[in-house]
Symmetry: C2
Subunit: 221 residues, 2 copies
């Protein structure tokens, strides 16, 4: 009888352990937050505020950066469903609209990523001292990129991602100050001085997410 | 009367704001945890478990590392009060004892560091989703090193430090899985096969903390 109880407890623990192994997860569909990005090989540093809507497939990014000791500012609205990207300058009251042929990529741990480790940032010795996070590794074969990414165990909130590319070196992005939800839905509406009805120039199509964020991808800078 | 109340509330808020600005803090004197260290320029990667006693000025570090694609293992006991360092190999039952002329440096935010920012790793949108941390910057002029360090707001637990040296490039250390307290006080007692009575060879004096951790600083490797 004791053996049976021990066995059933062991089986139960084994099942619980399997169930407790982290699985790839998707972040909340609505988020605002900040990120800092360093790429490639530390030559460019970008600090950004983002508004993210995975339901409407829209991202607004306002970023300040330093590239080879030159600072820059960008304000970009990516509308994936409409396949357009706007680069907005409130100071100059200008707006550049371009076709945007990039599939929307939700913030998530890819299904083919491999679970590496569960760790506590800080300490679990008291409340508010630590954060339970999971680290995952994987590859994006079509881009020849390896990544190591860390998300919180509870809530699937992104914490950091390291991309290593044979071609471009490494890129580190760190996320912080994230809130679940959208602070200002206006973030996804182009300002009045944007001529949204203007047809886009199909010769200037943007096909890469990071290209859309790059300083020199818009001609009116 | 309303003006007086408003004024006193404003003054109270101002005082609270001053009081709430983070001040340099010292980590708990007894800690166990893990750290990963990458240096210099990403050529060496070390993963370590440490036991830290700021009261007795003792540190035990067990580390596994990869340097230029070669893996190594080190087990080092630093006794700052006795000014000796032991390198221990349980596999070979060997122990190297060396004089150790390094002042004990507690884990803390140096008093001359400048507060940079308070951020939340993860999110504050729910319990267990985020960790409140403070970032500090500073310099160690005698070593020509700049640093950026992050500690938790509550508990003063180290999270990460980036050192930038003109001479040696950069070094990143990340701390995690930290517990307040000492798991095993035996960690600070040299094992039986260490001849603790043996006089140290003063020609082999170790004068640098990182030198003590270096793979080739002990002759019997």
């Amino acid at each position: 009888m004791h053996l049976l109880i021990s066995l059933s407890v062991c089986l139960l623990l084994a099942v619980t352990a399997v169930a407790q192994k982290p699985h790839p997860c998707q972040s909340p569909p609505l988020m605002v937050g900040r990120a800092s990005v360093i790429y490639p090989k530390g030559e460019t540093y970008v600090s950004e505020r983002f508004t993210y809507d995975a339901l409407g497939k829209r991202i607004r990014v306002r970023m300040q950066g330093v590239e080879h000791n030159h600072s820059f500012y960008e304000d970009v609205l990516m509308l994936f469903r409409e396949s357009v990207v706007y680069q907005i300058s409130y100071r100059n009251k200008t707006c550049t609209k371009k076709p945007f042929k990039v599939p929307f990529q939700p913030i998530e741990i890819p299904q083919n990523a491999t679970f590496q480790a569960q760790i506590i940032l800080g300490s679990s010795s008291g409340p508010g001292l630590g954060l339970l996070v999971n680290n995952w590794m994987g590859e994006i074969p079509e881009q020849k990129v390896k990544f190591s990414t860390t998300f919180t165990e509870f809530g699937c909130i992104p914490v950091s991602t390291l991309y290593i590319s044979d071609k471009d070196g490494w890129l580190i992005s760190s996320f912080f100050d994230i809130l679940v939800g959208i602070e200002d839905p206006q973030d996804f509406i182009p300002p009045d001085f944007c001529d949204t009805t203007k047809p886009v120039d199909n010769e200037q199509v943007v096909t890469d997410f990071f290209e859309a964020l790059k300083k020199n991808s818009f001609s009116n800078n």
